[in-house]
């Protein structure tokens, strides 16, 4: 396994832990839907799998792309819809 990738992985977990433990309980639902959208980053992997030629790999990639795009678009939009409601009077 590539040690560089592993380094990034470990460091990212620490960053994630630091950043997310500061999110207040009030915003935990938007945090979930927002991080859900971020996990849709698989969209990148999906696009890279859709090579010209139409092999099995391409169609698996297309299915992945649809799933991940639902995640990304739906996730960010619904998070925005929720955060819009949090107002201070």
């Amino acid at each position: 396994m590539d040690i560089n990738l592993l380094t990034i992985f470990i460091l990212a977990i620490f960053v994630g832990n630091e950043v997310i433990s500061k999110v207040p309980p009030t915003l935990h639902t938007p945090l979930m839907s927002g991080s859900n959208a971020i996990s849709g980053i698989a969209v990148v992997g999906a696009m890279l799998a859709i090579e010209m030629g139409g092999t099995l790999g391409t169609y698996l990639g297309l299915a992945a792309l649809i799933f991940a795009t639902i995640n990304v678009v739906g996730g960010f939009l619904v998070t925005d819809r929720m955060l819009k409601m949090f107002k201070k009077k």
Binding site: I20, P25, T29, S39, M52, G57, T69, V78
Partner: protein, 449 residues
């Protein structure tokens, strides 16, 4: 190329950082979305062997479905929506790994299998969770004989298959399909015995899995963007899982293997309770003479869609110069922070929404705690009764208020199946009836006083 993924990842981190306050949260979400856009555009222009027509089709179908779901989903349905999105995320990662397996001859097979394993079990588990939350499948724990054995067998099977591969006795395609099938069954087997009340833990955990699946796929295709984002989501899901477990005073293992909610606890030795049933008129008079009021909403309130009525009552009380706060238990809704969203939807100012740690000291000088549809999370037995199944669970100390007004439909016990001794306390009074009707009556009475 990796520079753009780095920019995208930085946007995600800044976006999550801005979620630390409701004021900055919305812009944070937009920054994260911009990061995603950068990653997508950079990927599109990075290679000229990609089939752009097919990609466009995928993006259009996915965006349309995503946008429709996001616009139409109701706030009470947020747990199901997050559950199904977790499933899509896991599914996407598993599909990318599968695609890699079929197209690249020398892809590291162990990582392929790990990606497929986590992604697929997230996918099937999330769909079961969705079915339970949406009511397609019974929300009660579904247990059958030998369930643990079945899960252990599926998991053991996967491990054995992976080690067989190392010995090289089976061809990799058969192993791939077997791992796929077993992971699918394992995901279902892990979620199906878990009851509705434990769903906050399950959704958080599946959220973490969907992130870990993305990270695993990142390792497979050597993509930093996937690894960083996946780790962030994985960390987020695990933190929330931990908070939810603490909120119920249960270990993760206990939630996954315990199937609580199935056994009905009735030891017959329950003490006689002196229940005082009051009318809304009397309740209104008590509230009228109070100065500080804390509203404790439970999921029942949201089910009855009575959070609007509750806010109107709070407004009327505030108009009379009273201080009104909301005390929200970590597991008040069906997912982390769910109740806060439901109250924000009803236009409750976010600075009035207090977490367990913030609100508990406030009960000491509180005149009235108004408990709406909450039960187990305000049961003082959790503090002192070692024989209680909820002993040790952190609760909202409503009993420390001068008066506790509890609205319930009937005397039926809560999720944990136990009677709440709070109802018999000297400073407790009950107002029976549907939450919405009761609050509307209460509003009228308060305004008339």
């Amino acid at each position: 190329m990796n520079l753009f993924y780095l920019i995208a990842a930085t946007c995600f981190i800044i976006g999550l950082k801005r979620l630390s306050h409701p004021k900055t949260a919305r812009s944070g979400n937009i920054i994260a979305a911009v990061g995603m856009l950068i990653a997508i555009v950079a990927t599109l222009v990075s290679s000229d062997i990609l089939d752009l027509r097919l990609i466009a089709i995928g993006l259009i179908i996915g965006s349309t479905i995503g946008a429709l779901v996001a616009a139409r989903v109701q706030m009470t349905q947020m747990p199901q929506m997050v559950a199904i999105f977790n499933g899509f995320g896991g599914g996407a990662s598993a599909l990318v790994a599968s695609s890699e397996f079929f197209t690249t001859t020398n892809s590291p097979f162990l990582i392929v299998c790990i990606s497929v394993l986590i992604g697929t079990l997230t996918f099937s588990g999330s769909f079961i969770a969705f079915g339970k939350l949406q009511g397609f499948i019974s929300g009660k724990p579904i247990v059958f004989k030998g369930q643990q054995f079945f899960n252990a067998l599926a998991f053991g099977g996967i491990i054995i298959l992976l080690s067989i591969n190392n010995l090289g006795t089976l061809d990799s395609q058969s192993i791939f399909y077997a791992v796929l099938a077993l992971s699918f069954l394992l995901g279902m087997g892990l979620v199906i015995p878990i009851g509705g009340a434990d769903m906050p833990v399950v959704i958080s955990l599946l959220n973490a899995y969907s992130g870990i699946a993305a990270a695993a796929t990142g390792f497979l295709i050597g993509n930093n963007g996937l690894i960083i984002s996946g780790s962030l989501v994985g960390a987020s899901g695990l933190i929330l899982t931990n908070i939810m477990c603490k909120g119920m005073n249960r270990s993760l293992a206990n939630v996954i293997f315990g199937a609580v909610g199935l056994e009905v606890i009735s030891d017959g030795s329950q003490k006689e309770m002196n229940i005082k049933s009051y009318s809304t008129t009397e309740a209104a008079m008590i509230l009228d003479s109070a100065e500080k009021i804390i509203i404790v909403p439970g999921y029942g309130l949201a089910v009855a869609r009575a959070q609007y009525a509750a806010r109107e009552v709070a407004d009327a009380l505030e108009a009379k110069g009273k201080k009104v706060l909301y005390g929200i238990h970590p597991v008040a809704g069906r997912m982390p922070g769910h109740m806060n969203v439901l109250l924000a939807e009803a236009n409750v100012s976010y600075d009035l929404l207090k977490s367990l740690d913030e609100i508990n000291p406030e009960f000491e000088d509180c005149d009235v705690a108004l408990v709406l549809g909450a039960n187990d999370v305000v049961n003082p037995a959790a503090r002192h009764d070692q024989s209680s199944p909820i002993y040790g669970m952190p609760i909202l100390d409503v009993d420390k208020s001068r008066t506790v007004i509890i609205n319930k439909r009937t005397m039926n016990p809560g999720f944990a199946g136990i009677q709440n001794e709070l109802f018999g306390y000297d400073n407790s009074i009950m107002v029976f009836g549907d939450a919405k009707d009761m609050l509307k009556d209460l509003l009228k009475e308060i305004k008339e006083l």
